[in-house]
């Protein structure tokens, strides 16, 4: 029982390190899309690991932790996809080192898609 708790605590620690890496990435990355990338990935894995560790330490709530992990795995990528889609649509400034942008080329070929293009805020 005690070893299980220590293993769980270490997993939680690993998760919190990933959360910290996500925050550092949020500060260091140059533009919106790379920030969304780093933020989503690191925070998703970090939360999943933390919750898993807590679930190991406290088996009474393991079922709800499982549901929470499934829920986060469905919702978190969806929300970051929505955010990235909106950001590209309103033309948020991309980093100077962006190599290729096939999506803008695709948009320009379909005039009805940017009939009323909103401005970036």
């Amino acid at each position: 029982m005690e070893t299980l708790k220590i293993i769980g605590a270490f997993i939680t620690l690993a998760g919190s390190v990933f959360l910290l890496l996500g925050s550092i990435g949020l500060i260091r990355m140059p533009d919106v899309f790379t920030r969304i990338q780093v933020g989503t990935k690191a925070s998703t894995l970090g939360t999943i690991l933390s919750l898993f560790g807590i679930g190991l330490m406290f088996t009474e709530i393991a079922g709800k932790i499982f549901l929470l992990i499934i829920f986060i795995l469905i919702t978190n990528p969806v929300s970051s996809h929505m955010l990235a889609r909106a950001a590209h649509y309103i033309g948020v400034k991309k980093a100077d080192i962006t190599v290729v942008d096939k999506l803008s080329e695709f948009r320009e070929k379909q005039p009805e898609n940017n009939a009323q293009k909103p401005e970036a805020e």
Binding site: T12, L19, L20, I27, S43, I61, F71, V78, L83, P118
Partner: protein, 86 residues
């Protein structure tokens, strides 16, 4: 032993909460702030799970479920607002 490690983990979570707040203040656009909001809520979910363990009350985890649901909807709402199609 386990509690000490957990306290270190909690400290790191608090640090990352503060760091993601930095991006909220020094942001170029609304999208940056929303990303920082998203990460803050995600960290809060981990913190709620940790508080559940340290206080020893299993019922607190219900709050984390509701929290995750509502923060997801908040981000989606702002994304739809930015697209002007709310």
């Amino acid at each position: 032993m386990a509690n000490t490690i957990l306290q270190i983990a909690g400290g790191i979570m608090l640090l990352s909460l503060v760091l993601s707040l930095y991006r909220f203040f020094r942001a170029g656009s609304l999208v940056d702030r929303v990303i920082s909001f998203d990460i803050m809520t995600i960290i809060s979910i981990s913190m709620i799970a940790m508080i559940t363990y340290t206080s020893g009350r299993a019922i607190y985890i219900d709050v984390a479920l509701i929290y995750g649901l509502l923060s997801f909807l908040g981000v989606v709402i702002v994304a739809r607002y930015l697209e002007k199609s709310l």
